[in-house]
Amino acid sequence: MPKLIKNEAIIDDQWTLLEEVDSVENVSENTIVPLAFWLENKDSLPANTGVWFASNEEPETISDVVNDLPLIAIHFPKFADGRGYSIARLLRERYGYQGEIRAFGDVLQDQLFYMKRCGFDAFVIRADRDMEKALQSLNDFSVVYQTGGDARPPVFRVR
């Protein structure tokens, strides 16, 4: 089974991500489907269906129903595309999303600290990279200067 980092450990990935899907029949339990497809078919999908966002898609579109979702994945088409960070913060902070937020796509070690701080708790590291090493970067810094999606207070409120 493929692996991913979740809650700071390497575990088996229980989910299947469908990049594209054309019919509800093709969606089984524990499947992650594109946002647009989910929005159109949400009432006929299995309860355990997650969605994924492209980096230009807007969390506003699901603001009222986010907590019906077991999992939200956010795609990083390139590691340098930083839109997914804002999407995660909005989901966590504005819409109070409690479930898993995972990053997938061009996800590399040196982004994980930032991603975690924006509220991601699961990371599908790019296949050619070392997951063990990536895991260490979740804690590259022990002090944070600013508020994020991870509930840590900025250091100025601690000092």
Binding site: E58, F79, A80, D81, G82, R83, Y85, S86, I87, R89, E93, R94, L108, D110, Q111, F113, Y114, M115, K116, R117, C118, R129, D130, K133, S137, D140, F141, S142, V143, V144, Y145, Q146, T147, G148, G149, P153, P154, V155, F156, R157, R159
Partner: protein, 558 residues
């Protein structure tokens, strides 16, 4: 000056470790070139024409003499014994080895310095007026706010991979703007409202480079404690909606223009409403804590123009010139703000040797409470000099070559490294600066011309701020040959007669390098013939327009 506490130290040390590991992984082939590129840029490390280049952060331009000495030491150990002051108030090393950078960072950390976010598509060093804290006409000392922004922007998790680089500048003087806030991605003007509350006027969408623009006012008055939440709202709107398909259209100025400043401001307001009460809302405790680091130094009680100064000014013309040009009124009686100009002919603007750095540190220790500031004109300021010590200081600065009394005059050229060092250049810029400085070496004449900004860039990226020079020079490439385009009427705002920020207009066809001093001379002659008494070049240009200049310059060419 801000002093690190245990938290600041920890962050900078953890950064050194992180960057060392990244560099090791790169050399071990575990990081691809383009991945390491993004990471090294966030740490100020470029790879340039002749060698790597490392840009070291100087938060809002301030350094202690200890830090300056450390830089001198590092240039000897890891570079060729000199460094460069930049238009963003930072310091660059031109010849470090990539392998040495982690060690350089470690040494920098020992004196509370780093290279964090000095480049790359993230929030860069926040800049401000180099006279901050020392001049009477500021609303309030802007440095604590800059430091608050520095900390907030350091490793901001949401904004490390923006569409493009992002620069914030703060100004606190009502009718002078030494920080050029109108040509920054965000410009903050500190103001006091009629209830006597401190706050900010916020501008967004200014910037130079390929599509130069002056920023738009997006908020008339932002309350003091809302600084970070409002910045966060702007950055979030930009991060989500800024263009990522074309790097030339990725700056916030393009977004603000496309949306219109009104719509952009509405989007920001809507975003801000959600987060203004978040953990980023500033507290009085924090504002006061940071302010404590910027209290006035231990000034002596002195009166203005002591007799020894008056006497020296009487009998030494060179000293008097320097006093009038390179020193400015201080808020504390008996003191002056001194600018050491790094503009000796024959040295690229902003270049300093290890020895010169040490001299600067010594001068700062002996005359200015051990503290210096770098200016966006590539000069250095000693902010708190006793008037009765000015003559001594001048003598020493003169010997060191820092007393060229040309501050803000034609020969106080801003100039990027250009084709001599920069791999992006279309043309050399340093020789052009030198040619013009040599042509205008008659000080009395240069004085008589009054304040005049001449800015030179080697390419469209505008590191030398050519768009906002009263006279701007841009290196262009024509079929593999170097040419220079001249623009007139640019202004970074408020300098020279309180005039507004403007982007210069192109004069006409470009010139060969060896024509440049002649061209400038012709432009100057048009000014001299047309000006009214007291008028500066920029005022005359605004009054008479481009044509007279154009006619003179191109007349003989045909």
């Amino acid at each position: 000056m801000y002093k690190y506490d245990e938290y600041d130290h920890k962050i900078v040390q953890e950064r050194v470790a992180q960057f060392r590991d990244q560099t090791n992984r790169y050399f071990a082939g575990e990081l691809a070139d383009e991945e390491y590129l993004a990471l090294r840029l966030q740490n100020g490390l470029y790879v340039q024409r002749l060698a790597p280049m490392l840009r070291i952060a100087v938060p809002y331009g301030m350094m202690s003499s200890t830090q300056v000495r450390k830089l001198a030491d590092l240039t000897r150990k890891y570079d060729k014994g000199y460094a460069h002051f930049t238009t963003r108030q930072n310091v660059q090393f031109n010849w470090p080895k990539i392998e040495d950078v982690p060690a350089i960072l470690e040494e920098l950390a020992s004196v509370e310095m780093h290279a964090i976010q000095t480049s790359g598509n993230c929030i860069r060093n926040t800049t401000t007026d180099q006279y901050a804290g020392a001049i009477a006409d500021e609303v309030i000392d802007p440095r604590p706010y800059c430091e608050i922004i520095r900390q907030w922007s350091t490793f901001h998790p949401e904004f490390a991979f923006l569409p493009r680089k992002f620069k914030i500048a703060v100004n606190s003087v009502p009718d002078q703007d030494r920080a050029a806030i109108m040509v920054h991605d965000i410009g903050i003007q500190i103001v006091v409202n009629d209830q006597n509350e401190v706050g900010y006027k916020v501008y967004a969408g200014g910037g130079l480079g390929r599509t130069p623009m002056v920023g738009s006012l997006i908020r008339e008055f932002l309350p003091e404690k809302d600084l970070l939440t409002y910045l966060e709202a702007i950055l979030r709107v930009y991060n989500r909606y800024g263009r990522r398909d074309n790097k030339y259209k990725a700056r916030i100025k393009i977004l603000v223009k496309a949306m219109t400043p009104q719509v952009f401001a509405e989007k920001v307001e809507a975003e801000w409403e959600h987060i203004r009460k978040s953990g980023s809302e500033l507290t009085d405790t924090e504002i006061n804590r940071v302010k404590q680091y910027f209290t006035a130094p231990d000034y002596a009680t002195l009166s203005d123009t002591p007799t020894e100064l008056a006497a020296r000014l009487q009998d030494n013309k060179a000293f008097k010139n320097w006093y009038e040009r390179n020193t400015a009124t201080h808020k504390q009686s008996g003191y002056r703000v001194v600018t050491l100009t790094m503009k000796q002919i024959g040295t690229p603007p902003g270049d300093v040797s290890d020895k010169q750095l040490e001299t600067i540190a010594d001068l700062a220790d002996d005359y200015s409470f051990g503290e210096v500031r770098v200016t966006h004109h590539q000069n250095v300021v000693l902010a708190d000099v006793r008037q009765d010590q000015l003559f001594d200081l001048w003598q020493r600065a003169y010997t060191a070559g820092f007393a060229t009394p040309v501050l803000n005059l034609l020969t106080d050229v801003i100039c990027c490294p250009g084709g001599d060092y920069c791999s992006l250049a279309n043309a050399k810029s340093i020789p052009v600066a030198e040619q013009i400085q040599s042509r205008f070496d008659d000080l009395d004449y240069v004085y008589d011309l009054g304040e005049l900004e001449l800015n030179i860039s080697g390419c469209m990226n505008a590191c030398g701020h050519h768009h906002v020079g009263h006279i701007g020079i841009l290196g262009v490439d024509k079929k593999g040959e170097e040419f220079y385009q001249v623009s007139l009427g640019g202004s970074s705002g408020k300098l020279g007669g309180g005039s507004n920020a403007a982007i210069g207009k192109i004069l006409g066809p470009s010139f060969a390098r060896d024509e440049m001093a002649d061209v400038i001379e012709k432009l100057i002659s048009v000014f001299v013939e047309n000006r009214t008494e007291e008028e500066l070049f920029i005022d005359t240009y605004r009054r008479i327009g481009m044509n007279p200049f154009k006619e003179r310059v191109y007349a003989q060419a045909h």
